[in-house]
Symmetry: C2
Subunit: 386 residues, 2 copies
């Protein structure tokens, strides 16, 4: 109980520093007086903390542009702001057909993005090379030095271990067993956090997508190999072994048909990663093509079953459907209807708002979480109060 009854001065400094930084981020060019009021700390404490943060480059004395009227009415109080430009974050998506990256400052505001195509058969080395060029190009265009990066988040298909190794990833060649985190860490001098793509997308929709108003969500990556990510009480639920939400395996149990077969309008199943072919089936169904409609119905039935399994197990407030750019909006109504019939407490169902950018956005948010934890959290106390 030392931290409550005793007095560790360096811990106290860290707490006070985190509290002042928080106040700085939330306020608009606060003065010492503002910060004293917001934090409840003493004026000398606030002054000491601000001095330290300025030395560390995280805070700068600054004031908003003033208009002519209010300028020069006596000597103004010193004002400060958090230097979001003191560091940068990357969010990276590694997918079957493309890699994408997003760049932000320490406030999480996106200041650049880029992507590159890659063939689905590309070996791991080639795919990682594509990631490196995409990132290098993005940094160059944004004028951000690599040394300014504080954390990199990565969203990848597959079950990802805590150290960033892909335990199992059938969607990409040479992916199972790949030490993805370690490989990427060679390109960066900051922490690299690797997360399952559906998990990253769930985080993204909660941050700035279709799920900003709910803390209990399931995000369904409704691809041909469907996966899901879930937040419980606002926190990512990874499962004991990082495999939570890998609902794609459910169809193997006594249900022979894979999504590739279900969505095919011929004798042959679609290729597992052929998203244009899927878009074509969706478009044909919309036009009224009977075979395509039948395929679509089979696919929806299957999707309903997978989503129902997730919903019954987790009881989320909201299900967000994403993963394919086009056509998924037609899935919503039948999904809502079926869930209402079979779930004891049917959740709301919404379409992804972030679409293509969900995975990279979520990866960026995970990098931001990591940095915020270092900057603002003291043994979880401050984080919990945020």
């Amino acid at each position: 109980m030392g931290r409550l009854t005793g007095g560790d001065p360096s811990l106290l400094r860290r707490i006070n520093s985190a509290v002042v930084l928080h106040a700085l981020r939330g306020a608009d060019f606060p003065t010492f007086t503002d910060l004293t009021r917001i934090t409840g700390l003493s004026r000398p404490t606030v002054e000491g903390v601000i001095e330290g943060l300025m030395v560390a480059g995280l805070v700068v004395e600054d004031a908003p542009e003033e208009d002519g009227e209010t300028r020069r009415q006596g000597r103004p109080a010193r004002r400060f702001r958090f230097r979001a430009e003191a560091g940068h974050l990357l969010g990276i998506e590694i997918g079957p057909h493309r890699v994408a990256a997003m760049l932000s400052g320490l406030d999480g505001r996106i200041i650049g993005a880029g992507s590159r195509e890659v063939t689905e058969t590309a070996p791991a080395d080639e795919r990682l090379d594509r990631v490196r060029t995409t990132v290098a190009d993005l940094l160059r265009r944004a004028g951000v030095a690599r040394s300014s990066l504080r954390a990199v988040g990565v969203g990848s298909p597959g079950i990802v271990e805590a150290d960033g190794t892909v335990r199992l990833g059938t969607a990409l060649p040479e992916w199972t067993g790949l030490a993805l985190g370690e490989r990427l860490r060679r390109s960066f001098r900051c922490p690299v956090l690797v997360e399952n793509d559906a998990n990253a997308a769930a985080v993204a929709e909660h941050w700035k997508g279709a799920a900003t108003d709910s803390d209990d969500i399931v995000f369904v990556l409704a691809g041909l190999s469907p996966g899901a990510g879930s937040l419980i009480g606002g926190r990512l639920h990874r499962g004991y072994g990082g495999a939570a939400g890998e609902i794609g395996a459910l169809h193997l149990l006594g249900r022979g048909a894979t999504p590739e077969t279900l969505l095919s309008t011929t004798d042959q199943p679609l290729h597992a990663l052929d998203e244009p072919a899927v878009a074509q089936v969706f478009a044909d169904a919309k036009r009224g093509d009977a075979q395509a409609r039948a395929a679509m119905e089979r696919f929806i039935e299957r999707l309903v079953h997978d989503v129902a399994a997730l919903v019954l197990a987790l009881d989320p407030e909201l299900v967000v459907i994403g993963g394919w750019a086009a056509g998924l909006e037609d899935v919503l109504e039948p999904l809502r209807g079926e869930l209402a019939r079979f779930c004891l407490r049917p959740p709301r169902v919404a379409l992804s708002l972030l679409g293509d950018s969900a995975v990279a956005t979520g990866a960026l948010r995970l990098a931001l979480d990591h940095v915020e934890e270092q900057l603002f959290a003291v043994e979880g106390t401050v984080t919990a109060r945020r």
Copy 2:
């Protein structure tokens, strides 16, 4: 940040009191010196806290039986113990065929138990009457006054709201919509906490059953109307609307056969609550009866599917199978085999160790949690360090 940097004296007293109580429960008749060492508090603080706790009846001066050798070697130091007998807790199971109750002191040690049969068609009033007589009889036999009860936990089938109202409960007559918590609160002057039965059983197996070594578990109540409860990081996962784990509805989706049909060896489905008939099928299958074996296989296939859905959604470390007293052990091997085939990270699978008593035991633990939170927790700080 007042609680870290400021000095609220009453809060500090509560924290210190909780810390000393914790130390008392964990130690064996500690002295002031022991408590000072364990808690890191000053001697005068410990003495003041102990005095307050003695006045409150929660602590008593007491010493273990000494043997002849060590007796009377100078004046012994004062020793103290937590008075587990200062209050009592009840755990109640309300089931289709019986109601059961368990009684403990504040340390959670069971000091009495009782049950009564009830017909599955009994109306709600009769079932609640049966609960009341069971409890009254148990208290009388244990010599515990009703006024000594500090909290009552109740496990019931159905989706239960936070206030103890049954939102949906098809297993028992007149159960949907029943204000179960409110009805039972009339019989007690302490808090009454109502929980879904599978959730309560999950808590019980984690406390003292098959899941004491894991914090990420799914408990499957493998009845004819299967349900499940899960712990994530040691905490009960209720879901947004309290419906998490109600996997029984999954068979309604495109799979016509109910467990009652699957397990029947005739043209007619079993009655949904006829557990003796199920036990008979299990026993016949064990004896080698072909029809019973086929029924059992159909049932297992179904159970595997439900459990796989839970496992894929949640990725627990351990699945505990319970719910029927007899026969379930034959389910384990096929379940393990199938989960290993279809789950990306198969969990361990174990049989319930608590059997019949799981629900009441879990209900008792929930009552104990409630009381411990009041006695020992200060804004979550102390609890987290337990």
